[in-house]
């Protein structure tokens, strides 16, 4: 039995892709992250967290951030020495997720609201978050220690 695993190349350590502003693209997001995770042997937990955080940001853009139907959400993944760097650029409405308040999570079902939970996940699951707005684009740089 031969070992079919490819020798890892530096090309495997980065991945760039773009999503259209359509929720159906969540599948493409999940597939791309899974593929990147397999190539780089990233543990399932970290991969789930990266997928979740990107899903929340993307779903936010599609649900609230669009001026038109033709927005793009550009994602770049890079892994280096056990640290994953993620850069996201979108041309939707200016939105700095670091300015959103923390949600109230200790209350019972009747009062419970869901707003802000996606950003809460990002704060909990990423190790560093930087936001900037330039050239008409939101740009978010996330760091995740694997």
């Amino acid at each position: 039995m031969g070992n079919n695993r490819q020798i890892q190349t530096s090309e495997d350590k980065t991945s760039s892709f773009s999503l259209r502003a359509d929720l159906a693209e969540l599948k493409v997001l999940a597939e791309n992250i899974e593929k990147f995770g397999e190539l780089n042997e990233i543990p399932g937990k970290a991969l789930f967290e990266v997928n979740l955080v990107l899903d929340e940001l993307f779903t936010n853009l599609v649900s609230y951030g669009c001026f038109s139907d033709s927005h793009n959400f550009d994602i770049m993944l890079l892994i280096e020495d056990g640290v994953m760097f993620i850069e996201i650029k979108d041309d939707g409405k200016p939105f700095n997720p670091l300015e959103t308040p923390e949600p109230e999570i200790q209350c019972d079902c009747d009062e419970r609201k869901i707003g802000g939970l996606g950003i809460h996940f990002m704060r909990k699951m990423m190790d560093d978050i930087e936001y900037s707005w330039n050239n008409g684009k939101n740009r978010l740089k996330l760091t995740k220690n694997i």
């Binding site: 979740l52 779903t59 079902c109």
Partner: protein
Amino acid sequence: MKLNQKKVENATIVRMEGRLDALTSPNFEDAVCKLIKDGEIKLVFDLGDLEYISSAGLRAILSTAKRLKAEDGTIAFANITGMISEVFEISGFGSMFNIYGSALTAANKIS
């Protein structure tokens, strides 16, 4: 997202399979809404085969819980493990609902 249901005593166990996100949660909500309309108001959600959940999925679960409460129904969860469990904990959902180790135990408890 696949849903399988099974009646145990007075409760209905709904086993969820796949991903519950912004894309799939509308179908989930429709299916559960139909169950409730058909009079199934004691629901156990078995999350053992749920691979993924986002805040849109949690939103769907919360609105289901509120709908059941309005009908004097009961909601319970079973088999919450791994990353689904982590998402429940981080979001505060873990302390908001009754969670059991197995779907049968949950069904017996709420019947």
